[in-house]
Structure formats: structure tokens, C-alpha cells
Amino acid sequence: MAILEIKDLTKKFGGVLALDHLSFDVKEGQILGLIGPNGAGKTSFFNVVTGVYAPDNGEILFKGKDIKSLKPYEICQKGICRTFQIVQPFRAITVFQNVMIGSFCRTSDTKEAKEKTLRVLKFMDLYQKAEIIANDLNLIDQLKLEFARALATDPKLLLLDESMAGLNTTECKAAEYLIKKIRDKGVTLVVVEHNMRAILSIADHIVVIVYGSKICEGKPQDVVRDQKVIEAYLGEGFSNVALK
């Protein structure tokens, strides 16, 4: 069952065609990897889906309903949440307060929000750090905070934009574990990543975007062997990688 349907999505910024008749579906419960070279349109795609920009053409259907004209906060209320390429926690306040803002998406009662915040913090293993100012956290904790804040909004679909940027191998593995944990909770994920090893390890399905258009999609082991993908982005190095 497709939770997100993208049909013929097109977006121009002046002379630059960021999204070129993009079409694919995201199935409920899967982790979809979105890969492609820099400037391919991956972040633009997230921006258009979450209402930051309006598309010039095409359809965006979330659970069958059109969300093209909604504002970012409405889209969050519908159940789509996104994280940012450069982590953007609310720096001057504590971890707990950061997640509270996410919790308030589903309730206006402070007490309920506090309980939910505690649950999410425990789930993301941030409970011990609840009273630390967000700016003082290290990168992996800031990433966890970003996830926690998004999770607190009870999303059905989570869009992660290059979450593993700047993480070392151990931290990457921790992030992969968290992403899978979030999926097991019933959240569908679309993950943009340049870290191929990570994507190959977590993604059920991969879509490859180059210059705003989809050049390939399919199972990870098929995508890494596709000739177009190898030429445009990956190179030969991944053809022989042992996949899950």
C-alpha cells in the first residue's frame, strides 16, 4: 500500500530544473533510500513534499489525499515530518524542551506533552541528557535529538535528509540502528544519504535521482549494478558489495 505517491512532480527555480517529472511510490512500512549526486534535487524534493515550495506541476498524494497546497506545519500535522541536512535543534533550550515542541503537535495539554516527551526520550536513549542545552550536545546526540523531536510529532512518514553527514563509522552504525528501530515502530522512512554502505544496509528500496529525474529504482542489489547508476553516480565499486 503506497503511503506517498509522487506523480510527475516538476519544480523550477528560475532557469534550474530541480525536479523533472519525478514519479515513484513509497510503500507503507518500508525504508526508501533516495540517492544521487549533489544537486540532483533530493533536498528540493523534500522541500516540495513538505510544503516549503509549491511544485509547478504534478501530484503529491499522502495516504491518497492531495497535499500539494498545504503549508509545512499542516503537513506535519497530517503526519509527515522531516529533518534537515544540517542539524537544526533549538540551540538555546534543553533537550527536553526541544522535544516538547514536537510533542505539542498532537496535544495542547502541557502534562500530556511532558509524558510523551519522556517516552520519546527514553526510546531514543536521550533520557540521561534531557536537561542539557541542545547546543552543548555532540553531533550524534544532536542527530538523536532531531529524530526525537520528529518522532514526538507521531509521524506516519519521516523524511531524513543526510542524517549521517559528519558521523564516523561507529556513529553511523548507531544511526542505522535507530532508523531501523523507528521503522519497527511503524513509521515509513525516506532516507537521503550519500553514505552508500549505510543505505545499502538499511534500505528496502532505492530510488536514484540525477538532475531532477529518476534514472533507476528497485532493490538495492539491482540498483548498484544498474549501468546508468554506475555511470552517473556510483562507479564500479559497489557492484560486488555483499548485501543484506
Binding site: T50, V52, K71, P72, Y73, E74, C76, Q77, C81, R82, F84, Q88, P89, F90, R91, A92, I93, Q97, M100, I101, G102, F104, C105, T107, S108, T110, A113, A130, E131, R149, A150, A152, T153
Partner: protein
């Protein structure tokens, strides 16, 4: 977290006793003070209402307004004109003034919230100045620069007029406490958290469900409402208003200054700031008299410079830092 809670308990006790002591003092004191000091305190309370209301949108909301006199003046003129022309009790005028201020703020929000930074500030100045000129020019109804008097009808509590100073004192004090309570409620509610988020990072906030326009709008409405109430209180206490006094830029700046010097974005900051600056200005007037007109602005400026140089966010911040430093010393001795 347990350690923090225990520490908090230690901190909470002295704070509450301090506040209780001050409250009792404020309620009992006027019975023993000379008229001048009652007047001084009443004026402080009235301006503190305006400063605390400003803080709701200027401090917590992050929308730095230099035109809050617009709402102050709306409150003052609404109640005064309704009383003058239709003999409507200023108590009702108080509420109606608040409603007009809220409607005005809704209209302004749609025009000005898309503006960022200094452009928003300029638009707030423009609003107050526009109203000031409007009220100066529409002499036929507002009496223009000549101003309006509140008709003296003796002791008439139902018409917000009292023969002594004490009733005004207590009304102003009560109103001030109400605004502080409202601010406290906002801070701990969803609105308060959303305001903080917006102030930190608007895009991030919208991505997790914050309707930035609606949040800022509600915030400004609350702020405008209470600022307008301060305006009505002022009019009823002083018995005279004119466009320069209640719509003037210097009033807007003063309100902002009280909040900023006291502690922008804090609960008690604007109150403390009003006390400090008003007392300093009265002291300056008393000491230097008419020899140095406008000296109070030099005082204001000097205090502001000291605050800014201290690197702290106002008097409250300075005292909080000292307080924690003192506590640490005590703990070491234990």
C-alpha cells in the same frame, strides 16, 4: 535529574518567601506611606503592566515592537471618548478598548508579520505615529493636541473615579499581578513553547507543526489587550490624555526600555525594570529639578549602557548570576 530536583527544592523555598514578603509589603505599605510615594508606585504599576505586556510579544515572541504606544493610546482614548460622548463607564471602556486593540493588532499582523527584522520594527513605529497624527488632526472628535480631560464627577466607583489615591493604587497593583500571571500561564503552555521555538528557528519550528503566523498573532493580541488596559488605567488616574502622551514614540521606547533593562524574556524582568527606571527618573527630577530638563533620559541611557556592557540580559539576569554564585559559595562551606 533527581539531583537537580533536590537542588530546585532548596532554591524554591527562599524565592517564595521573598515574593510573599514583597507582596505583603506592597499591599500593606500604602496605608502608611505619604501620598507622593503612593502616586509613584501607582504610576510604576501602570507602566509595569505595559512593560510586561510588551514583553509577551517583544521578549518571548521575539517581535521587537517600538510602537506599543499605539495600543496604549487606543485604550486611553477609547475609554475616555466613550465616557465623554456617551457617558459609558470607563470600566466598560476598559474592556472595549482592549477589544479595539486586539482588532487593531489582528489587522496589523496580516500586514506586518511578513516583514523581518528592522523592517518589522519600522512598521510598528509607523503604526503608532499614524495613530498619533490621526488623533491630532481629527480635532472635531478627539480635541487634537489640546487633549481630552476626564470629566470629574467626584467619588464614582462604578465610573472608575475615586476620591482618594488608594483605590487606583490597588487596581493598578492587581492589574500588574494579573498580567504577570497571564504571562506565566503562557510560558508554560503550548503557546509559550511554540513562541520559544519560533524565536530560535522558524523553519525548524514549522517543520514540526508550529503555525508561526497564528502563534505570533495570538501573542500580539494578548500583548495589545493588556497594553490597552494600561492606557485606560493611565487615563483614569491622570484625568488627562493627549496624542503625544499616549501615542508618542517616547512612550513606546520607554515601555520597551523598562522590559529590556529589567530582563527581556523573563517573567519579572519588566516589573523590575519599571521599578528601577521610574525610581531613577523620579530621583533625577527631584534632585536636579527643572535645572536639567530631560535628565531622566540620560539616566535611562546610562543604565541601558551598563546593562548592555554587562553582557547580561537585564537586571534579572545580573541578579540571577550573582544569586547562583552566592549559593555556590554557601554550598562549598557546607
Amino acid at each position: 535529574m533527581k539531583v537537580v530536583k533536590i537542588r530546585n527544592k532548596k532554591l524554591v523555598c527562599p524565592k517564595i518567601y521573598l515574593f510573599l514578603a514583597i507582596f505583603i509589603l506592597l499591599f500593606v505599605l500604602p496605608l502608611y506611606l505619604p501620598q507622593y510615594y503612593i502616586h509613584l508606585l501607582t504610576m510604576i504599576f501602570i507602566f509595569a503592566v505595559a512593560a510586561e505586556a510588551w514583553n509577551i510579544i517583544g521578549g518571548y515572541g521575539g517581535q521587537f515592537s517600538l510602537g506599543h504606544a499605539a495600543y496604549f493610546g487606543v485604550g486611553a482614548y477609547t475609554s475616555t471618548m466613550l465616557f465623554h460622548y456617551f457617558n459609558i463607564s470607563p470600566w466598560i471602556g476598559l474592556l472595549l478598548g482592549g477589544i479595539v486593540a486586539v482588532l487593531l493588532s489582528i489587522g496589523i499582523s496580516h500586514l506586518c508579520f511578513r516583514l523581518r527584522g528592522p523592517y518589522f520594527v519600522i512598521s510598528t513605529i509607523a503604526l503608532a505615529e499614524t495613530l498619533r497624527y490621526l488623533f491630532i488632526n481629527q480635532r472635531w472628535i478627539t480635541f487634537g493636541a489640546r487633549g481630552m480631560n476626564i470629566r470629574y464627577i467626584g467619588n464614582a466607583p462604578l465610573y472608575f473615579q475615586f476620591s482618594g489615591k488608594l483605590p487606583y493604587y490597588y487596581i493598578a497593583l492587581l492589574t500588574m499581578l494579573i498580567v504577570v500571571f497571564v504571562t506565566y500561564k503562557i510560558i508554560n503552555s503550548r503557546l509559550g513553547y511554540y513562541l520559544i521555538a519560533l524565536g530560535q528557528n522558524q523553519d525548524s519550528a514549522e517543520a514540526i507543526g508550529v503555525n508561526s503566523f497564528k502563534v505570533k498573532l495570538i501573542d500580539l493580541c494578548v500583548s495589545a489587550f493588556f497594553t490597552s488596559i494600561a492606557g485606560t488605567l493611565y487615563a483614569q488616574y491622570i484625568y488627562f490624555i493627549d496624542p503625544d502622551a499616549v501615542f508618542g514614540l517616547s512612550l513606546s521606547v520607554q515601555i520597551m526600555l523598562f522590559a529590556v533593562v529589567g530582563g527581556i524574556g523573563t517573567l519579572w524582568g519588566p516589573i523590575i525594570g519599571t521599578f528601577v527606571l521610574q525610581i531613577a527618573s523620579e530621583w533625577a527630577s527631584a534632585t536636579f529639578g527643572s535645572g536639567l530638563m530631560g535628565f531622566k533620559f540620560i539616566i535611562f541611557g546610562s543604565i541601558l549602557i551598563i546593562i548592555v556592557l554587562s553582557g547580561k540580559k537585564g537586571i534579572i539576569d545580573i541578579f540571577t548570576t550573582l544569586y547562583y554564585r552566592l549559593l555556590q559559595t554557601e554550598q562549598k562551606q557546607l
